[in-house]
Amino acid sequence: MRIKKLLIANRGEIAVRIARTCRDLGVSVVAVYSEADRAARHVRMADEAVHIGGAAPNESYLSVERILDAARRTGADAIHPGYGFLSENPTLAEGCQQAGIVFVGPSASSMRKIGEKTSARRIVAAAGVPIVPGATGAQTLEEVRRSAAEIGYPVLLKACAGGGGKGMRRVDSEGELADAYRAASSEAGTAFGDSALYLEKLVERPRHVEVQLMADGRGGVVCLGERECSVQRRHQKLIEETPSPAVGPELRAALFDAATRAARSVDYANAGTAEFLLDGNGNFYFLEMNARLQVEHPVTEEATGIDLVKEQLNVAAEGRLGISQEGVSSLGRSALECRIYAEDPYNQFLPSIGTLAVLQQPAGPGVRVETAAYAGMEVGLDYDPLLAKLVTWGADRPEAINRMRRALREYVVAGVKTSIPFHRFTMEDMVFLEGSYDTSFVERWFASAPGHEELATVAAVATVLLAARQPRTVASSVQRDGITSGWGAAARQSAMRWR
């Protein structure tokens, strides 16, 4: 069959991204939107739009019923879930099947097998994929104590249903174990409705490398290269690049083999990403499979020249892959993504809200911007703080980085704080430029002391001149409380988590 009308069960930049490929393919687009998204760009881009409820995600984008209802009412023949929200929820995949609607993603049963972390570990380990030493099932505190003694500290407590670093605790000695277990368990219970935990050996200062794959659900798997995702804060990615500076041809072949085995072990279909931890000695361990299109997929698209959303629709509709492993052999390009978050990098990357008073996007050779933001847009508390993804590519890594530097210089966002200053720092940092960074990279930013003495003087003079034009700039008191930034407040970090 051919998909004629696609409902996008998402919002923000990814909804815009998916709608673009639909336009290219002549597929008509149904958008859904919450109360907070009436003016959103993904709604403007659609052929039809359905209001599905309140601003709170569980009243709209997380409601399987309302999404399915919108699809039935508009006669959509397929649903693309994007990432986040319902993308890895087997109930939506099942609901689609029952309603005779194509779900653009893996089957509900694959999702269940690969989505629960301990069962995933069991299944892929049986298929010959290396996993981090540790348990393959939920453990009581006593069981955890015994395993930890066996594999040796430091260890990591993880939520069975977890993701995004929630319900996760590093434990350095047996004395800390009981408290950490209680804290992680209660966090997991609140976050996922499941407080079960298990234990893994902690890999110190690892790198995060993932393999993008496309599969047909019948054993056909094509690997589209790896992505290096070690630049993170709070276990969430900030920068991704391909190829990984840490991966040579031999390791790449081994990673592709492991990713293929993992996908086959659950009859995986559609786009997926196998995530691995890489230690300093070239050992790698399967972490999890992300059963959806990833935020950072454009990095792979620009390196390979393949439109992943187009391939997703193709596999979902036809049940077979439109690409072959031989055909993929990358263009030999390097590509890089910086995530532009509405967060203040000078204040622990905490969320920043406001109106986008100024928004000037970069452009030019080798530059792609994925965003749903527009000047004047309100950035509120309800949704993910991702404002935009800035992707650059080049014939090699230095060219991609030079273009990223140029693009970041052109990027102007005022009205909310953004991660742009962090990215500008990173693109000049020796450790990043050498490619020898690991998941502790962000500490280099916290340790740097940006003086910007000259620019501060310019800011002072400029604001005085502005004040002379616009009386409102002159204020009578300083309201902002001095929140100390810097790594001294590291303790704060452990108190933050995603939900």
Binding site: L350, V461, T463, V474, R480, R497, R499
Partner: protein, 167 residues
Amino acid sequence: MRYWVQVGERTFEVAVRAGEERITARVEGRDLEVQLEAGGPGQYTLLVDGRPYDLAAAPQGAGYTVLVQGVPFDVVVQDERQRQLSALEPSKTKVEGQAGIRAPMPGRVTLVDVTEGESVENGKRLVVLEAMKMENDITAPRPGRVVHVKVSKGQTVEQGQLLVVLE
């Protein structure tokens, strides 16, 4: 005209003289020839002795956030009159021995974990804030007794807003 400009944690004194042809700003003992040109809403070019700086500005609290070549600064400007007025305001010095716990980010209060009168240990969770899918535990920076709880569950708070007062 003289102005006092707070840029982050620094304060600059800036004296501006507007001549017929040009504007001179005296800052930190240096005379700079300056010219500000608007280039679209919120965007400006500041020429300082002939060197262009790319600027963007947006209102923020009592002042502005100004980006200079992409680097953000929180800036508040006072003229002479306002400076004198603010000097007359009763000082907001803290009550001896009390500590105000403030919101490190804007957000929604999803949990208040203490009651007034309660004694808390160092590190005790006081309030949970949530914004943009991120939860943030606000904990006691030291042991003490909770004198005031200034927020309640479901309330939206601004960055820097007072949450709890410890004694």
